[in-house]
């Protein structure tokens, strides 16, 4: 049930498989839903060369740990996983992975989406995009650069 903060690129598909092998019992879960948020190379009007994801390290970790716990309490899961980048991120790189394992499909779908919606609305991260026209903080009322 871990939430992992990373300052380097990661392969979400390798992480899912490693987590399944280490933490889950084969034949026990029947449903795995995963979401990967990837940095896009365009947003609003400007082309984005890269971005910096600032966070509040202790609070971010605390928030995501608590979110995993809440998610496991709320849905009938075998387990769930969050991985989130911070620092410098380039287009095409994964920013976030949420995944949820359960016996039946509804809880895994619902839990995976719950993790993302809570994370998007409350986890203390802030994106600054570096574009051809300079730097800018991403605002909530804009379409985010990736989802």
């Amino acid at each position: 049930m871990p939430a992992i903060l990373l300052d380097k690129p990661f392969n979400p598909w390798d992480e899912i498989q490693a987590f399944q092998q280490d933490q889950l019992q084969s034949g026990h879960y029947g449903a795995t839903t995963s979401f990967v948020g990837t940095m896009r190379d365009f947003n609003i009007d400007d082309s984005v060369s890269h971005m910096t994801l600032e966070h509040y390290p202790a609070m971010t970790q605390h928030f995501l740990d608590k979110l995993c716990l809440q998610c496991n309490e709320r849905y009938a899961l075998d387990d769930c996983l969050i991985i989130h980048r911070f620092g410098d991120i380039r287009p095409g790189e994964p920013i976030v992975l949420t995944a949820a394992w359960s016996a039946h499909r509804a809880p895994s779908f619902d839990a995976c989406r719950f993790l993302m919606e809570e994370l998007k609305s409350h986890a203390p991260f802030w994106k600054k995009e570096i574009t051809e026209n300079g730097e800018r903080w991403v605002h909530n009322d804009q379409k985010s650069d990736e989802q």
Binding site: G37, Y56, H84, I95, V96, H122, P124, W126, K127, E146
Partner: protein, 77 residues
């Protein structure tokens, strides 16, 4: 009592500081901490406040040793 204050992202840039420590002799709340820590800057409407890593409202009282944080709406994920 001693209060640590942190600012993040665009608020850090607006206020011009990342962290400061304040001393109080009488009870005070988060909004008052903001005013003193930000040198009187008006708090933007959408500012989020946290004490010791938990979200709180601006009228929440602070206690000795608290870490108070101010930041704009989050944009992770």
């Amino acid at each position: 009592m001693s209060i640590t204050v942190q600012f993040f992202a665009s608020l850090r840039e607006q206020v011009g500081k990342q962290q400061t420590t304040l001393d109080y002799e009488s009870p005070t709340n988060v909004l008052t901490v903001w005013s003193r820590a930000s040198d009187g800057t008006t708090m933007p409407d959408n500012t989020l406040c946290a004490i010791n890593m938990e979200y709180v409202k601006p009228d929440t009282m602070v206690a000795d040793g608290d870490e108070v944080a101010f930041f704009p709406p989050v944009t992770g994920g």
